[in-house]
Subunit: 290 residues, 2 copies
DNA sequence: CTTCGGCATTAGAAAACCTAACTCTCAAAC
DNA sequence: GTTTGAGAGTTAGGTTTTCTAATGCCGAAG
């Protein structure tokens, strides 16, 4: 009637991870820190293991713990076995485990991702971020196993996703022209975003004089504005880091909110394990941070 | 903010046990049986592992599963590592893990334990039972790490225990004399148990004629009765297997219940782990079985 | 003889896990 | 071409395990 025979002769292996760490450090507290858990958790797991084996592995004293003879004999075996597993796992799956592929248009990579990446990297120092530049919309399909950062309404097949920020457009210029922006020529941005005339219509403002410059990407538009070429109807989200560093400035004029936004999406198969979910959550948090 | 970093680069190891079994069998169902769990449990753990690693390990088809290239590469590593751990654990701790030391008086070992041991051994085929004969009461203290089977009222220091059976005394003879037992001489049993006079007092029966034989252990008394030497005030519990095989027979006379009983006890440190608790429960069940 | 670092212990909360019941798919048998 | 059956996937919900937070305890160092 023995019900949960895991495998004859092997204790629950996760206890061994803890034993190994505790033995290596000679301290339950240190081991607990290594795992990001509490000292009590380590204490209990060790006790379980000792109980399972029917022998003490540690000698407890007020100043810390030290291994018993049994523990001393057991540690190398456990250490080596775990090391072998870790090493082999790393060799075979290391790439997929510690690599995050992110596909996006070049300007999104530059203006949304890169400025916020350091926050994430501090939390996950040895996670590699691999970007894949997507020149055109339809090229996203080729990168269907990667994370996507893209502009739209948040409906994509077979993908989960979160909204990073809604698109909010507002006139922006180089700081030195912010006061007298009305005298600047407007920069035209072609594409799916509402333009100056829509802005004028919705806000009731007068439409500014169009200048000679017309670009087809928000990245170029913002750069042009930064150079003092004119006033641009810029994206709050994309301009965020330029605004924060004072390279651009919002002028005193109403904004135009849209229903579109910047989304991060990933294949539904991702994020199922706790580890991945945490990584995703951390990245999301970093990117949503304004 | 990564909270539960177990150990960078190692998946939860218990998933690997399942992977190894599934890979070995080429079947989730078979693996589930090996663990005494359901197929769904295996399916989920494998999925978790695959998700953690970011790669598929099995190819599912309606007829079963087979390893992918990744799985094929991973299996030997996992197999060997687990094998090494299992082997080493067995070498170091095998004795304490698969050995059950049972201390008791010789007659208890013979009449209580041995007849019921096969039931237990069927459930735990590779558990070694090591008996330690205890000639005298006080010798139990020397075997304080072993299980004890002993007669008394169930109060022992630092030990947990369960009552196997209360002591119930009843006149018994060899089967051929059971009818005419009144004409047989009574066998005297010296010791802590109530004797014939107590039996006569409590039940109101006439006290039988005492014969010439007087013994100091229940084992001897029962053996004497079996040989036709006389009628004995026998212990139901100890005589149980003799009664079942027809070597002894209870006569038609009232029984005498006592408040003493046969107890199994163990050091409080034992039975803390699930595995041990199950083993103990199984042994207890076997011994309580009449 | 007090303090302080480190472990044990506990109850209760949180997470992980398992099972039961169901579905889906394919192959083999009819 | 249907039927059947084995085996895997999927869920929701209950159960077990594990973790945390709080507290107690011990002994070494001041």
């Amino acid at each position: 009637m023995p019900k949960k025979v895991t495998r004859q002769g092997l204790p629950p292996l996760d206890w061994l991870k803890v034993f190994e760490a505790a033995g290596r450090h000679g301290s339950f507290t240190a081991a607990a820190e290594e795992f990001g858990a509490t000292q009590a958790a380590v204490s209990q797991r060790i006790r379980n293991l000792e109980s399972w084996l029917g022998r003490q592995l540690f000698i407890r004293s007020a100043r810390g713990v030290s291994l018993t003879v049994d523990g001393e004999s057991y540690l190398p075996l456990v250490h080596d076995s775990l090391r072998a597993l870790e090493q082999g796992t790393e060799n075979l799956f290391g790439h997929s485990v510690r690599e995050l592929r992110i596909a996006a248009q070049p300007s999104h990579l530059e203006m949304l991702l890169l400025p916020r990446l350091t926050v994430f990297s501090e939390n996950y120092p040895d996670m590699r971020i691999v970007t894949e530049t997507v020149p055109k919309r339809q090229d996203f399909e080729a990168a269907d196993r990667a994370l996507h950062i893209r502009y739209g309404r948040g409906v994509w097949d077979r993908r989960e996703g979160v909204l990073l920020a809604n698109e909010v457009l507002q006139p922006m210029t180089a700081p030195e022209h912010a006061k007298a922006w009305r005298s600047l020529p407007a920069i035209e941005l072609r594409g799916e975003r509402p333009g100056w005339s829509e802005w004028a219509r919705v806000t009731g403002e007068g439409e500014p004089e169009m200048g000679p410059v017309s670009v087809d990407s928000m990245g170029h538009a913002l750069r042009a504005a930064r150079l003092g070429i004119g006033v641009v109807l810029g994206s709050r989200a994309l301009a965020s880091s330029l605004l924060q560093t004072g390279q651009l400035e919002c002028v005193a004029a109403p904004e135009l909110a849209t229903i579109d936004g910047y989304w991060m999406t990933w294949p539904a198969s991702l994020g199922k394990s706790k580890r991945q979910a945490e990584v995703l959550a951390s990245l999301t948090a970093a990117l949503q941070n304004l």
